[in-house]
Each structure stands twice: as C-alpha cells, then as structure tokens.
Amino acid sequence: MVDTPIISIEGLSKNFGAVTAVDDVSFEVTRGEVYGLLGPNGAGKTTILRMLMGLERPSAGTARLFGEIVTPSCAQLVRVGAMVEQAAFVPHLSGMRNLQLWWEAAGTRLRDADLDGALAIAGLDDAIHRKVRTYSQGMKQRLGFARLLLGRPELLVLDEPTNGLDPGEIREIRELIARLTAAGATVLLSSHHLSEVEQTCSHVLVINHGRLVADGTVTDLVGRAGGVYIEVDDRERARRVLSALPGVTDVRDQGDGLVVDLHTGRRADLAAALVGEGIALDTLMPTQQLEDAFLDLLAEGSAPMAATTTSAVPS
C-alpha cells in the first residue's frame, strides 16, 4: 500500500492583483521527513504556508493535508501544529490561559491535549502563569511551540521559527526541533537561514520569485554545486584513481589537497575508491556548502541577489 503524502501541493499559485506571489508550485512531503522551505525574503514561502493552513485561498492549484484538499478550517487541521510568522497570543491573558482557550475553542477536550508535555517542552516554569504581554519574544516563541505541540500533532509547520531570537534562544529552538524530529514528527520548516535548514532538514525545497527552483535532499542540493575537497597521503596516486572514476570531470590541486569536480555519483564513492586502493584519506568535504548551492540556484533563476559563493575549502 502506498503511503499518502502528509502534504501534497499541486500547481499552487497565488496572485495579489497583478503580483504573482506563488507560481505553479508542486511538491510533496512524506511522513517522518524534515523538509526545509528555503528562499529569500519575499520569495513566497509564507504565502505557501498560509494556503496550506487554509488562511488564504489559492488562485489556482490545490494543497492537500493527509490526502484531503485544504479548505478554511478543514478537519485535517487538528492533526497539524503550526506556527505561521511569529507566535502571537492574547496579550492580557496568561500563557497557560492562552493555551487552554486556544485548545478548547475548537471543542476539543483539554485532557486530550497533553498540556503537561507541551509545557515541559516550552520550559517557561512559573512564567506560564504571567500575562503574555510581559513575555520576551523568545518566551513567546517557546509558548508558541507549546501551543503547536498540543494534542501531539502528526505534522509541524514552522515558519521562520527563530526569527527575532537571540543566539541562545535560536540554539534552544533548534535543539527543540531536533528532539521533535528525532521523536518521529514530520516537519515543514520555512526559513531564509541556510544554516538552520542545513542543520535541521533532510530535504530542501528552494523557492524564488514564487517558483519552486529545487526539490531534493540537502546532499543532492549541495551536490549540484559539484566539488569535493580531499586530503590524502599520496596525491599523485589519488589523482590517477579519481580521474578514472565515472562521473569525475576534473581533479586539480588546491592547497594541501585536491579538488574533485563531480558531475554524477556520490562523495562516498570517492572515499570507497581511495580506501580500496590503500590511500589514506585525511579529509573529505564538499567544496561548497548549502549556501553556495542556494545562491547558485537563485542566480540561475535571475534572482536579484548576487551569486557570490562562500567556499569552505582552504585556499
């Protein structure tokens, strides 16, 4: 039996007058994976998430949750925990009261919410009983995580979850996402922070000017940029071995090592070939990070951003 995708987006478009915010976007999110929706500010990420959550109507195409077409306030939303833009609450009520009222508003019983589990994750301690207007942005974000975890949702939709947070809070939120994904949650995370996506996600969807310009694993995407830097004990033998491998288009010196341009194939194949020939491998790393691949993709799509690259390789 084929597993129904948790999210299925088909030909999704959204126009605001003459402006096309989202243009014919299609992708799927499968169970248990962590997808990063990556794109510059204004690329259309939040609009996609709003349509997915039934807040905005698509101009064309459909969004499905658990196989059902999303409509405003559709029943499948009860299986989703979402944070779209910043976490927001009723400011004159306490954090606890906000959680209780939000959960009960849909007629769901508080005893089904796993409130204690959500509160433990939020880690607000006694502050949970203070009015939300006294919270810092980081506390609101943590309370937002507690809210989206109520009822143990199967899918988490997170829109720029670390926006406006200080480095310590960002780290806390990332660790929290890591714990949730380790526990088996399916996650769709929108961000323009490449490191966030690289550290958190298994798959990446790159959006630019409202269009989906890449869809694949982080490894695939970095692989598009194509280079691998290696350091070995015998450079000349390594050069001969690697040059003979299928998919390798060039091998050249750089610093104390070699840079291998890889058209097809996996980095792991290079390592296996070298080790198989008895060549000691000290270092193997992609010459480019996700940031380089991302900027290359934007440049391909005639994005206004300059296609500068940041090399991870010693020069």
């Binding site: 905005e56 405003p72 939303l77 779209v84 833009e85 009222l101």
Partner: protein, 278 residues
C-alpha cells in the same frame, strides 16, 4: 459552539478595559442621580431627556429611564462600538486570529460567537446603567408612583404611573435601548472584518451612528430618515412622556433587525472569503 463562546467571553471579560467600562457604567448613573438630587426639583425641563430628569427626583423608579435617555445618545454608542469593532480586528491586531483559524473552527461560527459575545456585553452594559440608576435613584428618592404632565387634544393634563408600571416600562425601555444597538452590531462586525486595526473598526462603527444621528436631525431629508439606524432609538421614551407604547418602537425593532441581517450576512460572506494575512 459553547466552548467557542466561553473562549471569546473569557477574552473579552478579562480585559482591563472591560472592567473600567463596567466601573464607569456604575459610577456615571450614580453621579447623575447625585446631581439631580443637588439640583432639586425647581429647574425647568427641556426636551424629553431633561423632562425625565426633572421628573426623576419624584421617584427612583424613573431614574433608570432618565439615565438611559442621556447615556444612550452617545456614551453607550461609544461603548457598544468599542465592543463590536474590536471583536475581530482586535484578535487580528494581536496576530491571534490566524492561530484561531488554523484550528477546525469555521469562520462563520467564529464570527457568530464574537457577535454573540459583543451583544452580551452591550446588553450587560445597558442593564448595568439601568441597574445603577435604579439603585442610586431608589436610595436617594425612594420608590413611588409618578404623576407626569402631558399635552393632549383637550389641552394640558397628566397621567400617573404606578410603581409596577414604572418598573415594567423601565424593563421594556432597557431592552429596547439594548436592542437598538443591533444595527451597530451588524455594521460593526462588518467593519471589524474589513480591517486589522481595531481603532479603525471602532471609529467607523461609532462614526456611522453619530453621522446617522446628525443626519436624522435634518428634517429636510424627509422620509429617508426613517431608514436611519438611529431614527427610532428614542421611541421608547414615549412610554414615560406620553403614556403610550409608540408604534415607532415596532418600526425601530424592524429597522434594527433589517440592519443586523443585511450587515451581519455581509460580514459573514466577506469573512469566509477573506485571506487572513494578520
């Protein structure tokens, strides 16, 4: 629906603003009654409001009508407009509206719940004014029947309202004043869905009623004034000043219902189609 109503009521009732309004609605009628007491009964009356005031010192049972007559012209409009205009736009301005709508809560149901709570608060405010007036009035003037002067076909005359009649008419008057905000409720809900700025929605809601009152005062506008939401708002006072249940009260009820249905339906249709971007 009950859970949603409870949620919305808690949000509205726990605001500091609501408490301040409640205190003001208790305090102002008390102040008015004290002012009447200190003025004595020698001052001349003017229009119906002043007339009711002049007579109010005869019996505390007439004070609810007197304070409602004064406060329903402006202050209660402002308070009702605040409750209604803020209902959706307030949640939107906090950013909380999108989180409510990311749950399986239909937009129509949410709007009806918010309108219901706004109506409950409006009724509570009106009843509070009448109750505060009653308590203060009976305390200072006692509870007696009232003889009210009137102008009839045969010239000057008078009629007497017993204690029971005064209480009954105060109840009907209070209900009529509260019901008179139904047009405001319908229009305010629409304004509240049109903007994410509560002050804008509140201002528009109050503004429409104020403009309606001003235009209603221009007799040259003729019969068109009968369709204004504020035209029949004072019709209930004839129960005290002319000893009649005016047919205008029926017309007032119908006008209020028409506004509520038309603007309420427009609000629901608009809100169901609206892209939630706040």
């Amino acid at each position: 629906m009950i859970a949603l109503l409870r949620t919305e009521f808690t949000k509205a009732a726990r605001r500091t603003r609501t408490l301040i309004i409640a205190l003001a609605l208790c305090g102002l009628p008390t102040l008015i009654v004290v002012a009447i007491k200190s003025r004595g009964t020698s001052d001349r009356g003017g229009d119906h409001g002043d007339g009711l005031f002049r007579l109010a010192s005869q019996s505390g049972l007439l004070v609810p009508a007197a304070v409602l007559s004064v406060m329903s012209g402006f202050l209660l409009i402002v308070i009702a407009g605040t409750f209604v205009g803020d209902s959706v736009a307030g949640d939107a301005s906090w950013g909380n509206l999108r989180y409510l709508l990311m749950r399986p809560i239909t937009r129509g149901r949410l709007l009806v719940a918010k309108a219901t709570i706004a109506a409950v608060l409006i009724w509570a405010a009106t009843i509070l004014v009448a109750l505060a007036g009653l308590v203060a009035g009976v305390t200072l003037f006692g509870a007696h029947s009232v003889t009210i002067p009137s102008i009839g076909v045969g010239g000057l005359g008078s009629f007497t309202l017993s204690e029971g009649a005064l209480v009954t008419r105060a109840l009907v008057g209070t209900a009529y004043v509260a019901f008179g905000f139904n047009a405001l409720l319908g229009m305010g809900m629409l304004f509240s869905t049109l903007t994410d700025t509560p002050t804008g929605a509140i201002g528009a809601t109050i503004g429409v009623y104020i403009v309606s009152e001003i235009l209603d005062g221009i007799s040259q506008l003729g019969q068109i004034r009968y369709a204004f939401p504020t035209h029949y708002l004072g019709a209930w006072e004839s129960m005290f000043t002319e000893n009649t249940f005016s047919r205008d009260m029926v017309a007032g009820v119908l006008v209020q219902l028409a506004y509520l249905v038309v603007f309420g339906a427009a609000a629901i249709i608009w809100f169901r189609r609206k892209d939630i971007r706040s």
